[in-house]
């Protein structure tokens, strides 16, 4: 049972909108990045001398590069529609965690230096100089946004606070104020190939171990190949999948699906990470550099298709940005979208009747599904808008007998972030993470009480890690969070291949 040094909120049947408590989370800030983590990303090592001028210049540069930033800083009318939508506000009561409150931290600086009203009448329009106090506020509160875009759903102008948080982090990085967690991780990707810093040989070992485990359990030789040139599919998955529960159970599931489909596939030690933290820090350059590894791996391994494993923001970058950042993909098989989500892949096979399931294998569980924010509001699966909601649920229904959705206000495009997205999945922000998880866990607790739900499936490495960590704070069990492909893995009925022990095994179709 986790011990907290702060008050863990009480779960309520429905998430209530709290009264505002100014400054409630002003103490929360992640560790600042050291010079050694800044350099490899192209950022100054520490706060530069003329930081104020350089920050304003950077803001001007970004205003010229991103229409979203320019339009969103101008357009807000302070209608208040977003004020009760952010899970961090609902969990912490701090008004600077209301999306508009967060945006205003940048808007007041924008108004002061870039608008007539703010230059002439700063007090009247709420414009302020970019002082060290304001910078400190930025560092604190722009690291209390998980860039989940829930606010953008309800804003009458579609103002997306994520765009503003990303720009703020980019400005801070450019003057030497980086966040340790994100920037250290991006450095690891450049140096070793993945967020967790797992070197190639360790991956090979892990995957061999998985093959043995799966063979012991099923009697079928399911392969987990890496760096195999000429494979049809390159699988790019978050490195957590190689490492920890419940992630690794998902990876086992992907392998079983590929086995059942009879397609050759491979992981890549060069692109052994689906995550792209370049997005979290708003750095196009770093996001592009991280994305290019996937192109490099696809070319080197001569694959025909690219499939992504379960990871929320990675799927956003993959689905929405990969073509932009690392395309064009004209050297891949044009019959398939680039990239595909593993859920799309599995779902297609289910539709074609090519997978056999024994749903009773999951009868020990009553499942609900957590829509990961980046998948829900920043991407799609399948041909039809909203496929990102229907396809994972269809897979659950195909593999489990007992499934219940959480409250409608908290799923699909109104889903709550897990509380750990956007580069906040670090122990130095644990209070924020625990409190930010409250709205999701209110809804989970509700279906646990009313429907007897025992497990929540997710398709995001960050969600899985976050829930594993924070569920115990609320008196729940850490293993109540499961990978979607863990359910597939449990239920799938595999037929043996030629090299299995069984004598009359048919060849894979």
């Amino acid at each position: 049972m986790a011990k907290a040094t702060f008050d863990v909120p009480e779960l309520t049947p429905y998430t209530e909108v709290p009264a505002v408590t100014p400054g409630a989370m002003a103490h929360s800030a992640p560790f600042v990045s050291k010079a050694e983590f800044q350099g490899p990303l192209g950022f100054p090592g520490e706060l530069v001398e003329d930081w104020q001028t350089r920050a304003i210049d950077k803001m001007g540069e970004l205003l010229g590069k991103y229409r979203s930033l320019r339009v969103y800083l101008d357009s807000c009318v302070k209608c208040g529609a977003c004020t009760d939508k952010c899970h961090y506000f609902l969990g912490t009561q701090d008004p600077k965690n209301m999306p508009v409150g967060r945006q205003d931290l940048m808007r007041k600086v924008y108004r002061r230096y870039f608008t007539l009203g703010g230059r002439l009448f700063p007090k009247l329009v709420g414009a302020e100089d970019f002082t060290k106090e304001v910078l400190d506020d930025w560092y604190s509160y722009f690291h209390q946004c998980s860039q989940c875009r829930r606010c953008s759903v309800f804003c009458p102008y579609g103002i997306d606070t994520a765009e503003i948080s990303m720009a703020a982090r980019e400005i801070m990085d450019s003057i030497g104020v980086g966040q340790k967690y994100c920037n250290e991780i991006i450095g690891k990707v450049y140096k070793i190939g993945n967020n967790l810093g797992l070197p190639g040989p360790a991956l090979v070992d892990t995957l061999e171990g998985l093959e043995e485990d799966v063979f012991d359990e099923t009697g079928v030789k399911v392969r987990y190949p890496i760096d195999e040139e000429g494979a049809e599919i390159l699988l790019v998955t978050p490195s957590a999948d190689f490492f920890a529960e419940p992630h690794v159970d998902g990876l086992i599931g992907y392998g079983k699906v590929f086995h059942a489909a009879g397609v050759s596939w491979t992981l890549s030690s060069h692109a052994s990470e689906a995550a792209n933290f370049g997005m979290f820090i708003g750095s196009y350059d770093n996001m592009r550099r991280v994305a290019q590894r996937i192109r490099e791996a696809a070319i080197a391994l001569k694959v025909k298709r690219i499939v992504f494993g379960e990871c929320g923001h990675a799927w956003r970058v993959a689905y929405s940005f990969l073509n932009t950042l690392a395309g064009p993909w004209d050297f891949l098989d044009p019959r398939y979208p680039v990239p595909q989500h593993i859920c799309e892949f599995t779902h297609d096979l289910i539709e074609q009747g090519r997978l056999t399931f024994d749903k009773s294998e999951n009868d020990d569980k009553v499942i609900t599904f957590h829509d990961s924010c980046n998948v829900a509001r920043a991407s799609r699966m399948g041909e039809v808008p909203g496929g990102q909601f229907e396809i994972p649920r269809a897979i659950i229904r195909a593999t489990c007998n007992h499934f219940y959705d959480m409250d409608e206000d908290t799923i699909r495009d109104r889903t709550f972030c897990c509380g750990g997205g956007g580069g906040l999945l670090t122990d130095d922000l644990i209070e924020l993470r625990v409190k930010g998880a409250k709205p999701r866990l209110d809804a989970l607790n509700n279906v646990m009480q009313e429907k007897g739900v025992t497990h929540m499936a997710a398709i995001c490495a960050i969600c899985k890690s976050q829930f594993t960590k924070v569920l115990p704070y609320y008196g729940m069990e850490m293993d109540q969070i499961v990978s979607l492909h863990q359910l597939v893995s449990n239920a799938i009925v595999l037929e043996g291949g030629e090299d299995d022990d069984e004598e009359d095994a048919p060849a894979a179709a």
């Binding site: 505002v20 009760d84 309800f154 060069h270 808008p385």
Partner: protein
């Protein structure tokens, strides 16, 4: 009398110039700033016509706001729709002959004026009654509401209580087109009404009223969800590709 007329004529020339030039500058800047990444809030339409429909629902029905907050939606929609009817009604002062649809809409314009003020008062009440909205409201937010409420009530008062010479007003505005200002009636209520409207026109391009053009340029609402089918590349992002082609395209080298 002449001084008054010429002052107001000058005021409206300036106001119109500021409004039009200010908006043109802003809109051109919005249009020229690239949106380098595909960021529609999904589920999003997969075709241009779908986006047009989504945008129409946002502009006409305030769809997202409806999902976000019913009270703000009802007051906001009443205000904007009322303002729309009032604007149509007022067109009669600026065109000769008056088009048939504008003639037809005249009585509804009066209801629009009442609705507009009710909507504004509802929105203003939220700025005092809801602690979250109170927290985010700045002086300018209150002043903007005050300005609009005063414009609305002074207009309604002229309609229902202190009538003014509408024929002369029309002559004044038509005269402005020909750079030949005609005498403006010296009714205090009218002068207040017109002063505030001119003020509104002047602050429009420099205030949150930019939400009107802004919505049309919002990437989360106006982008098509088709990133896998079509490669989306901003000019400055394309320049990056040309800078360092070797490093990215040949990993085996």
């Amino acid at each position: 009398m002449a001084l008054l007329t010429y002052s107001y004529a000058a005021l409206f020339y300036v106001a119109a110039l500021v409004l039009v030039s200010g908006l043109v500058v802003k809109i051109v800047r919005y249009a020229r700033t690239p949106a380098p990444l595909k960021i529609p809030t999904t589920p999003a339409p997969t075709s241009r016509s779908g986006v047009a429909l989504r945008m129409t629902r946002e502009v006409v029905l305030f769809e997202s706001l409806f999902r976000g907050n019913k009270w703000t939606w009802i007051f906001g929609w009443i205000f904007h729709f009322g303002l729309f009817l009032v604007t149509l009604r007022h067109l009669r002062y600026f065109i000769e002959p008056v088009w048939a649809p504008i003639a037809l809409v005249q009585p509804f314009g009066i209801y629009g004026g009442i609705a507009m003020v009710i909507g504004l008062l509802g929105l203003w009440a939220r700025r005092f009654l809801v602690d979250r909205v109170r927290y985010i409201s700045s002086t300018s937010d209150h002043l903007m509401l005050a300005l609009l409420v005063l414009i609305g009530t002074s207009g309604l008062l002229m309609k229902f209580v202190f009538h003014t010479d509408v024929v002369a007003i029309k002559r004044f505005f038509l005269g402005l087109y020909a750079l030949d200002p005609q005498p403006l009636p010296a009714d205090p209520l009218l002068l207040l009404h017109l002063l505030l409207v001119a003020l509104l026109m002047i602050v429009f391009p420099y205030s949150k009223l930019l939400h009107a053009p802004g919505l049309f340029f919002s990437p989360t609402r106006n982008q098509v969800d088709d990133p896998r089918e079509r490669r989306h590349l901003a000019p400055w992002a394309r320049a990056l590709e040309q800078q360092a082609p070797a490093a990215s395209s040949d990993p085996r080298g």
